[in-house]
Symmetry: C2
Subunit: 344 residues, 2 copies
């Protein structure tokens, strides 16, 4: 099939075409199209008209090569399908919308090698900055990030040493906070439900902080259950059933994310289990979805939007050279939300 066949031999349009059509030099056309430098109102109008008539779209490839500037920010995150990263993106976009910068997303699926290749790919477009999830990367990835002369912001974790800048919460601390709240509420037989993802370092750190703080209270995780793949809501139900059948004495279930927590909550309600009396429940993330559930699940807000905002601000200000008083290590405070599934 032929495409766009209404134009004959379609040689792609260039500045020269616009320049010829409007009777000024290419440079002037370039200036008009970028709103840079002084151009008289008359020629501006002429040029704009010509560009519009022709349907000219500037070639950023050439522009970027000539100017050595690319207004893209590489955003490298594990996934888009779990409600947490879209929120981060929202925060990023919010801030970048007020700058010439634009986010471009790369997905890693929690695979270090994929992260490395995505990073390589993105860096080959010479972006103005990088926002990347986590502090753990392959050696090669770390080397690339260090070797590149642009702002690099690692987000969603502050338990470690950043290459350049970092923004997020301490997951260890989040885990500890939850453990303390649980202990204080008098729960004594704790179960943990999470993902089978050795590579999800943030979940791991949360768990570490959790067990550590429990230990201080003389408690421990008495049973655990893990899943992978499938609908998190369904898995939450199934895992909850499994763990409660195996360990009927449990009186608290800590889920590594809100979605499986919600599944667990629905299961308990189905079974007529008294929540939070008989069993307490808590998830992690503070996703909006929870508010529509029959009972508000306890959770911990990780400040996702704020993380995105701060990270974008750091990149934007560094790219603009405006670093006066700029914080490059921002630790946000996770906020415990008791909801209605955790006794106070």
């Amino acid at each position: 099939m032929t495409r766009g066949s209404q134009d004959q031999a379609k040689r792609p349009l260039t500045l020269r075409d616009v320049s010829e059509a409007s009777g000024v030099s290419e440079m002037t056309v370039s200036r008009v199209l970028r709103n840079r430098g002084d151009v008289s109102a008359a020629t501006r109008k002429k040029v704009l008209a010509a560009a519009k008539t022709l349907g000219y779209v500037p070639n950023k490839i050439a522009g970027a090569l000539a100017s050595q500037r690319v207004n893209l920010v590489a955003v490298i995150i594990p996934s888009m399908s779990n409600m947490v990263f879209p929120d981060v993106m929202t925060g990023i976009s919010e801030v970048l919308d007020n700058t010439p910068l634009q986010p471009v997303v790369g997905l890693t699926n929690y695979l270090p090698e994929k992260e490395e290749s995505v990073l390589y790919e993105m860096l080959s477009w010479r972006p103005s900055g990088v926002i990347i999830a986590g502090l753990e990367h392959t050696d090669a990835a770390r080397a690339m990030l260090r070797g590149v002369d642009i702002p690099v912001v690692e987000i969603m974790d502050v338990d470690g040493t950043p290459i350049d800048a970092m923004v997020g919460i301490s997951h260890r601390r989040a885990g500890r906070m939850m453990a303390q709240a649980i202990a204080k509420a008098g729960y004594e037989h704790i179960g943990f439900l999470g993902t089978k993802m050795p590579l999800d370092h943030r979940a791991r750190k949360r768990f570490e902080g959790f067990t550590e703080a429990l230990a201080k209270e003389g408690l421990e995780v008495e049973d655990q259950e893990f899943y992978e793949g499938g609908s998190a809501l369904v898995k939450g139900r199934e895992m909850t059933e499994t763990i409660l059948n195996r360990s009927p004495d449990l009186d608290f279930l800590y889920y590594s994310n809100d979605m499986i927590g919600a599944g667990g909550l629905l299961y308990c309600l189905d079974k007529g289990i008294d929540v939070p009396g008989q069993i307490g429940l808590a998830g992690f993330n503070g996703v909006e979805l929870l508010q529509g559930l029959p009972k508000l699940l306890a959770t911990m807000d990780a400040g996702r939007i704020e993380t995105g905002r701060k990270a974008a601000e750091i990149v934007a200000r560094m790219a603009a050279g405006d670093v006066e008083g700029l914080q490059t290590r921002v630790e946000l405070t996770p906020k415990l939300q008791y909801g209605e599934t955790l006794r106070r």
Copy 2:
């Protein structure tokens, strides 16, 4: 703060640096790095080693300009936060992963002007193809798409005329199918709940098909309720309460998406309403989330992953010039899922 300060005056690396480090011409380095043309095993090894030592990352900007080839596919969709587009992306990535092409996402938030500007922005990077949601665009956007000599696939709707190629379901038909199923099940007092989005053409078409088919059965939509913003699950509850208070005789509620449908379902279950006996419920999209709910909501699967796959296939094959027997207008069939909230 100084960044990447372990290197002194950091002049960015170019092919020339690798060429000098490995003692061959730039051209040969280029060939090695792109796996193109004949290069002896010995030099290949030498070059690769030099590139790695230096930490060289090719400059795709320059490469793209020189070769006039950009292996990016612009994917322009309204949003990432409603579970439907991530699925489309999954299908797209799945197919593009087997090609040199890479998707780049642009978000429109359902705003035509935003769509236009995002499209302009993306086209200025001269992608190898465009996948764009919907068949409705501004005149300027349509002109751009027509004027560009690359494959353009419009997805998620086939009720209209595509610029080039299209893949998706007929939303009118989806609406009709649901209306017929409802009528056949004997429901007679129908309510509709949706979004306040005059610009969501697909929801509109679904509604049109729905009312049209209802009319054929001598039925009509007796009450409606709309929302915007906020948590869809919460809104679903609230709207359901509102509409049922206002029109207690309704015996079926058709929701324009699964999330508000799920909210409505939870509300009905809370209130002890017999579903699907007293009131039937149905949503739209077939999102995975539904399976974790206490009752399986009736819905209609829009074939999102398959849509993404097909669209990507069309772009990939057209870009590769392999158009033999290629379907460029693919209508997928929406699949009604009765679940447990629609009598049969």
